[in-house]
């Protein structure tokens, strides 16, 4: 419990420290930004539209693959703790599980789902 308290303290401490430093920076340089200064930098010309758009991500197939494959880590952490005690049973079971998941990656690779759509 004390260890978790320490982690939370470290996390919130760093978070607050950086927010305070940023606020102190604003106090030190209070000059407000004018309209031309706020124009996003494109190399000399102003942007015609907002940069926020329905950004056509090209790796959406890989993102879906990651969602499914990320679950594998949930199972591997407890397995790692008890591996030495369980011995060969643990090894064989995890090998089966992992081979099944790697087939998914090979399928994605063959279907060229990992490349830009």
């Amino acid at each position: 419990m004390a260890a978790l308290g320490a982690v939370l303290a470290v996390f919130l401490g760093a978070l607050l420290a950086f927010l305070l430093l940023r606020w102190a920076g604003d106090i030190l340089n209070p000059t407000p930004a004018t309209a031309p200064q706020r124009v996003p930098f494109l190399g000399g010309y102003p942007p015609e539209v907002h940069a926020w758009n329905r950004y056509h991500v090209r790796y959406y197939a890989m993102a879906l693959l990651f969602l499914a494959f990320d679950m594998e880590m949930v199972f591997m952490y407890p397995w790692a703790e008890v591996f030495v005690r369980e011995g060969m049973v643990a090894l064989v079971e995890m090998l089966m599980f992992i081979v099944i998941l790697v087939i998914g990656i090979l399928y994605a690779w063959r279907e060229r789902a990992l490349e830009w759509a």
Binding site: A51, R85, W116
Partner: protein
């Protein structure tokens, strides 16, 4: 000493040592850069350089864009630094001494690295400007590709320790360091660690082809905080590779803390050298490389070390 004072001492001590390591990393980066460029740089000048640039950035105005997501923009560097600090908190610097000896320390470390992806995406999305936005989406693609191998390789070090606690992992390396027992572990961890700190060959979100990427619209104190937080993640990667693969505080003659510091600095030099000698990878080829090469290699590393332990 009541737990509260212990926690405060731990936080302040960790913050101080992290700040010193960040400053040292900045100095080492300059020195290695000048060495590779064969330009002379005196050590006294190199030691003062990061402080001078920090002072100049503190006196610079914070730039704003037309319609930015101001709160997320302010949160991004803080979240990045908090994730890095939390990840360093679990690393033990003595037999029973760690700021936060959490039982599932490894799970916390990988969760902190996942928070880095959230922080960099926020930092790129918030300014509502094209180059940071492209940089942010690049980092999501790269992180989704290296996060699994990074977690697997760390998992392999948990096998001999029979526990996810980082201090148990260091304890289990009394006779044999994991870098010897699991040869594939350290290279994969350093490659994916460079991705987590978006440094050197994997500096895709802040790349030169996007005129600075997510920091193209940042100036003044936020730019200083962002560079410091990025170096904090790099230091965290170096410290964890020292703890998980190079025996952490274990070592003859010198006290534990000194050994951990020396190993962390050694790995830091390797990471900074990679930053100066390896060109930036192409995003799409790294995604394919991560899924098709890094994950199988990490799995081989896990199962090989498992078989050796039977």
């Amino acid at each position: 000493m009541s737990p509260v004072t212990r926690a405060v001492l731990g936080v302040v001590g960790l913050g101080g040592s992290l700040a010193v390591l960040i400053y040292l990393a900045a100095v080492l980066d300059r020195v290695i850069g000048h060495r590779v460029a064969q330009q002379p740089l005196r050590w006294s000048a190199a030691l003062a350089l990061p402080a001078r640039e920090a002072a100049r950035l503190v006196l610079q105005q914070r730039s704003r864009t037309e319609r930015s997501d101001a709160e997320a923009w302010a949160l991004a560097p803080a979240l990045l630094a908090a994730a890095a600090a939390a990840s360093v908190a679990v690393i033990p610097f003595g037999p029973a001494a760690a700021v936060a000896d959490v039982d599932a320390g490894l799970a916390l470390y990988v969760a902190a690295i996942a928070l880095v992806m959230v922080a960099v995406f926020l930092h790129g999305w918030s300014p509502n400007s094209v180059y940071p936005l492209i940089g942010a989406y690049r980092f999501v693609a790269v992180t989704l590709s290296f996060q699994v191998p990074l977690a697997l390789v760390l998992l392999a070090t948990a096998l001999p320790a029979e526990s996810l606690s980082v201090s148990a992992i260091v304890q289990a390396q009394d006779g044999l360091w994991n870098v010897v027992r699991q040869p594939l572990g350290l290279p994969i961890f350093l490659a994916t660690g460079l991705g987590a700190a978006f440094w050197g060959p994997l500096a895709l979100p802040d790349a030169d082809d996007l005129a600075g990427g997510t920091r193209a619209e940042v100036s003044g104190v936020p730019l200083l905080l962002w560079r410091a937080a990025q170096l904090a993640v790099l230091v965290s990667i170096a410290a964890m590779s020292a703890a998980a693969f190079l025996g952490g505080w274990r070592g003859p003659w010198l006290p534990g803390v000194v050994w951990l510091g020396l190993k962390t600095l050694a790995v830091l030099v390797v990471l900074l050298l990679a930053g100066h000698l390896l060109a930036r990878v192409r995003q799409e080829s790294f995604v394919v490389f991560g899924w098709v090469v890094l994950i199988p290699l990490a799995l081989v590393d896990v199962f090989l070390s498992g078989i050796l332990l039977l």
